[in-house]
């Protein structure tokens, strides 16, 4: 008998006097939402910005017409000599035309340039799938165009977020985006990112840039009237 069979046999032999009903998680959150005052788009944006600031992340409101130039200016100000990005995203063409120096596509398997990626890239740029206002959290689903390490290895992470994709809570984002549904199965790697990497492991003193990015800068796409 294998370890698997022995473990499962022991578990199945255990008494079960009470079988709890499945928890109604969505019902719970719907009831909680009724208790709260609710929020509109403006409040969600304000909440997201406040929470992200608490995580040491920076949020810069931009428009569809201005974001690439804002990013270019940020790269100059932060002396970014090489900006890694993913090709074939809805925003790649605008980025490529923005005149950003040192723009480098992540278009090769990591195996052939791992050392260069770790040592020579100053910043990474990713799009996002949305965000969560309650906790100041970005939703990032890496894929073939925007690989996992794009938001992890470079010391600065620039993330483009459409304010239309700002959800109140994690459960609302999961439900609205259909995570794990047949049409939208979970990707190889899905991420929630709330600020730059950090640690409190030495005398509970917070230090940023533990292993991942030292800075997280969110370019928040809003309407002209919302700037």
């Amino acid at each position: 008998m294998s370890a698997r069979e022995r473990i499962l046999r022991r578990l199945r032999a255990a008494p079960q006097s009470l079988a709890p009903l499945p928890p109604d998680v969505c019902g719970f959150y719907a009831a909680e939402r009724k208790r709260s005052a609710g929020d509109d788009r403006t409040q969600r944006i304000a909440r997201f910005c406040g929470q992200m600031a608490g995580w040491h992340g920076e949020v810069i409101p931009v428009t569809r017409g201005s974001w690439a130039q804002t990013l270019r200016q940020l790269c100059i100000a932060k002396k970014v000599g090489s900006l890694l990005y993913g090709r074939n995203t809805p925003y790649a063409k605008v980025l490529e035309d923005a005149g950003i120096g040192g723009l480098t596509p992540y278009d090769r398997p990591v195996d052939v340039w791992k050392t260069d990626l770790f040592r020579d890239i100053d910043a990474g740029f990713t799009t996002t799938r949305g965000a969560i206002a309650e906790t100041g959290t970005l939703i990032v689903w890496p894929d073939a165009n925007e690989p996992r390490l794009l938001s992890l290895v470079p010391p600065i992470h620039f993330a483009l977020l459409d304010a239309d994709q700002l959800h109140g809570t994690l459960i609302e984002a999961m439900t609205a985006q259909g995570w794990g549904a047949a049409a939208t199965p979970m990707p190889s790697n899905a991420l929630l990112i709330s600020g730059p990497s950090k640690t409190s492991d030495i005398q509970v003193t917070v230090a940023y840039g533990a292993h991942g990015p030292k800075e997280l800068i969110v370019l928040l796409l809003v309407g002209e009237g919302e700037l």
């Binding site: 578990l11 008494p15 709890p20 928890p23 090769r108 398997p109 890496p142 994690l170 794990g180």
Partner: protein, 479 residues
Amino acid sequence: MAVSELKFVPASEFKQRTGAAVADPHLRRSFRTAMDYLMAKRAAQFPDSAALERQRALAEHIRKYSLSRLPDLLEQLERQLTANGIQVHWAENGEQANAIIVGIAKAHAAKLMVKGKSMVSEETELNAAMEAAGIEALECDMGEYIVQLDGEKPSHIIMPAIHKTKQQIAKLFAEKVPGASYTESVDELIGIGRALLREKFMSAEIGLSGVNFAVAETGTLCLVENEGNGRMCTSVPDVHVAITGIEKVVEKLEHVPPLFGLLTRSATGQAITTYFNMISRRRQPGERDGPKEVHLVLLDNGRTQAYADEQLRTTLQCIRCGACMNHCPVYTRVGGHAYGTTYPGPIGEIFSPHSMGLATTHALPTASTLCGACAEVCPVKIPIPELLIRLRGDATHPASPGHAPLAGQGAAASLLMNVVWGAWATVYSRPALYRAVTWLATRLRALTPPIQSGWTRSRTPLKAARRTLHEELARRRGK
């Protein structure tokens, strides 16, 4: 990397070590400061106690529901992970788990394994097994890296190096990290660790991680972390091995947010951690990075023993937030190393008897004042004091009828204790005898010994009153 021999100590010597721990002012200060900080941070996250109670009730429900379906969910998880291309392994104990992981490493001719934080791999003593097989196992969580560098083990499940001051860490780095000079700046110390460990992430063939939640329906492994080392270990090397206890599975993705939200708030007082990493597949065709192979090792190691008893099963509801130890007056005074177990504090006191047996851990359930703080803050409402009382009984008595004996059942049984409690029960169940004995005790109070074993080490001697309670009440009624 230079590491010294492990300074870890057997759990059976818990009582001897507590004296030394309590007498160490540096250790006391480190834990007191850190626990006060963590308690305040947690409290700030839960300003509405009614809302907290609703969340705890839901989280408890999810954990109880998941455990009630555990064998089915484990099979569903295995099916889904396999369909996703992730290989699943089962291990009954630490040796089996280590052998599986060493086997995977050898199949890839690995020389270096980078490790994200995994308490289950501490439980199996994986690092020692890897070193014995000639493979370096390097801890990459900053706290874990620090304790490994000093040949120690974690003293807290969330903050492994909380027992160390920054001066001690500065000295350790200056002595043991090549090229590092002495600095007490926390930013600089973290910078030293970052630079060194980034080189290791690049060269490691295997990355290891724990799992906070495993979702059966989607075949998703969830990891909670702040530093990014977990993401490095699961994204950069060609092979990712995850290891977890069999109890961590939940049925649906929607069961994760309530547990995740309480985990981070209870643990470190954060509304969310920097990263929540959900892994469902290895690198897919066309993807540029990510591991080419992903494995999951499911570990029993005593969990099925706890599962076999419906009261003890509640131990497995734990989501490893560490709030019970942060709020434990005993843990705060003796620190994590005194316990000699992977999981210190209240959760270790109720879990270790299953993973290690009562023969070596029977003293642990007594390391509690039963103040109830642990149960009050537990986000999944584990009745820890009730379980401590139950395990105290299991340590000193045979199993009750209808209950299978635990490993080491009755290991702390003592003839003296049985005689004393037997006499107590006899006296208290016979009113005439009780009155006679208490009358005698009050009249012979002058003979009370001034030294009364451990009691008088830090307290005044116990002495019977001049009159019994019955006499005193009768006297007052007479007035």
